[in-house]
């Protein structure tokens, strides 16, 4: 961007151009930074789901689902490190709302998982995949991106059907697909706001 120094002679059109250029540049910088979060959590989801799948398949025991708790334990410190690097990038309403949606998802996922593991057995994959799809869908609406909206619908509804038809470790592969969708969402944001 060209240097903007003090000029008082501007036409109305020049002023509007400055406003739209500044808003678009700022939005691009902020969303480029939030794309990293999608790619990080997506990669972690792919990795952890495949590790749990492999451990469950090879041992035959669902107890390995406990490894899921590694995800927030690993993810949040990495997010902190990433955010420290981008500490001068401000929060906009868009990335703040997206962050809140996924933080809420994370809290729901951890609480429901603990309840399902300790007290009330349930089809945990079905519950988690529906709210995952919902969160993805709402993120798409906020970003005004139809690919993300549709992928959220497909993951939520298709995932619920798959979670009812699949059993055992195979259900975990739904989360691998969810992880791929998060990485793709990050890549879409990166290319959309290049």
């Amino acid at each position: 961007m060209e240097n903007i120094e003090q000029k008082n002679e501007m036409t109305a059109q020049q002023s509007l151009n400055i406003i739209s250029e500044m808003i678009n540049d700022s939005r691009r910088t902020i969303l480029q930074s939030s794309a990293k979060h999608f790619m990080l959590w997506g990669s972690l989801l792919i990795f952890v789901s495949l590790v749990v799948y492999w451990l469950w398949q090879s041992s035959g025991s669902p107890v390995w689902n406990v490894v899921w708790f590694v995800m927030p334990a690993l993810g949040f410190p990495i997010v902190r490190i990433l955010d420290r690097k981008d500490s001068d990038i401000p929060q906009s309403k868009v990335n703040m709302n997206i962050g809140l949606i996924w933080l809420t998802y994370c809290i729901f996922a951890v609480c429901i998982s603990v309840i399902a593991m300790l007290w009330v057995p349930m089809n945990l994959t079905l519950v988690l995949v529906v709210i995952f799809g919902f969160a993805q869908c709402v993120s798409g609406f906020i970003l005004k991106n139809w690919t993300i909206i549709v992928s959220g619908f497909i993951l939520g509804i298709g995932g619920a059907v798959a979670a009812s038809l699949l059993f055992g470790a195979e259900q975990l592969l739904i989360f691998t697909i969810g992880g791929i969708m998060l990485v793709v969402t990050g890549l879409i944001i990166k290319s959309q706001y290049k």
Partner: protein, 96 residues
């Protein structure tokens, strides 16, 4: 009759700063400098003018051990910015 344009906003750098601040919660000096490409001295002077008019608040603190100046648009600043944009639209449509 066309509305008068706010002279405080009708300057490139101040308008650029206000446009950035209108879309974020707050922004630090480094970010504003990077986005506008202005010099530190000039940006500082214009930020002071916007702050004196009550359009933005300036908070001087620390991020860890590094000094950090954070700017935030005020409701009065947002209102003035909206009025300025609406006035610009009137100017443009009057010239068509």
């Amino acid at each position: 009759m066309l509305p008068k344009l706010d002279p405080l906003l009708h300057s490139e750098l101040r308008l650029a700063v206000m446009s950035i601040l209108a879309g974020v919660e707050d922004a630090d000096f480094t970010y504003l400098k990077k986005q506008t490409g202005a010099t530190s001295g000039n940006l500082s002077v214009q930020i002071d003018k916007l702050s004196a008019a009550g359009y933005i608040t300036v908070d001087k603190g620390f991020k860890g051990k590094v000094p950090c100046t954070t700017c935030k648009i005020t409701p009065a600043g947002l209102d003035a910015f909206e009025k300025y944009v609406n006035a610009l639209k009137e100017y443009i449509s009057a010239n068509k």
